[in-house]
Subunit: 199 residues, 2 copies
């Protein structure tokens, strides 16, 4: 599907029909998401996939009973890996293993070192923002693969962490419900392009 | 262009050839970016477009002399609007003007009201994250339109604010340089899909 068409057709699906998305299709989606870019190529994201009804029922309570949670096929819980030191070490090793030139390694790890000194809340915010790039790949990728999706941030992260038994460094940041729609898209609206620009 | 192809071909362009992107093409790109989704549809982004050489030269200094800044055609400075109260009021008025049903208005403005009570640093982080969705639309949209791009966060926001005389509520968050490439894409790498998932 053309990108312009994907953008037009994508909408935040409020109700899914409960049909399961085949595993092969889910794998295709993850393969698209995997290629999302991130600052330093640090890839500070992890996804918890939830497809079973019992877990969805628990998560629904932590999502103010929004109907997407229990009617979607798969709920992708995008988490931010807040262990910046661990991510940096992994990146360093991966670049070495791939034979990235020392000059590039020095620049990237130099910036990573600077960033490690940022105020923790700023570093955490930056890291979470990268996760949104991957989630944007997911919502656009879903449409490209003939699926619908709903990104959501109105949920209780602490409850998600508890229910999904997530390690402390992985913080639920954004949900992406995917599946087949049981609603109709409402007319989309945005502010005009003039509002987008700073004169 | 197919979405899968866009993802494959997109790369962080390190050097552009300086040719200007025609205004009509830039307008097409903004029209794609405009349709980015955001939580509550609050659209907390503004873009400062920089195409003149003198301003780029000043910004280059605040971007550690990365060659993208002076060689790109247009530098899109994506800013976060940190005036959440102002954004909420604008959203409220826009929904009323569009005849959005009261039931939906109540839900959306109820959540906006809750969010206004979040710790300011958390609200600011959430808002910045939405801006990344629009920036992701920009980098993918650029490729869809036959352009190349480079997203960048390694710059001095305070210097950008000063040079561009930005209002205090608009905080430079991420740059997207667009233009025609003068480099060759390096092989892209990412962690395997197993690393993406939480078991």
């Amino acid at each position: 599907m053309e990108f312009q068409e994907i953008i037009k057709q994508r909408y935040a699906t409020k109700l899914f029909d409960g049909r399961p998305v085949p595993d092969a299709k889910v794998a295709e989606l993850l393969e698209l998401v995997r290629w999302a870019p991130s600052g330093l190529n640090i890839q500070p994201w992890k996804i918890k996939m939830v497809a079973d009804a019992a877990t969805k029922a628990l998560l629904s309570v932590a999502t103010f009973a929004e109907p997407q949670i229990e009617t979607c096929s798969h709920l992708l819980v995008f988490c931010t890996d807040t262990d910046f030191a661990g991510l940096s070490e992994k990146l360093s090793r991966a670049m070495k293993a791939r034979g990235i030139p020392d000059k590039i390694w020095d620049i990237v790890m130099g910036i990573a070192g600077e960033m490690a000194g940022m105020p923790p809340e700023d570093l955490r915010a930056w890291t979470s923002c990268q996760v949104y790039i991957a989630a944007t790949y997911a919502i656009l990728g879903a449409k490209a693969l003939g699926l619908d999706s709903c990104p959501m941030t109105h949920f209780i992260p602490e409850e998600y962490s508890r229910i999904l038994a997530l390690p402390a460094n992985l913080v639920p940041t954004l949900l992406c419900a995917i599946g087949y729609p049981a609603d109709q898209p409402k007319p989309k609206w945005r502010y005009p392009v003039e509002d987008l620009l700073i004169a």
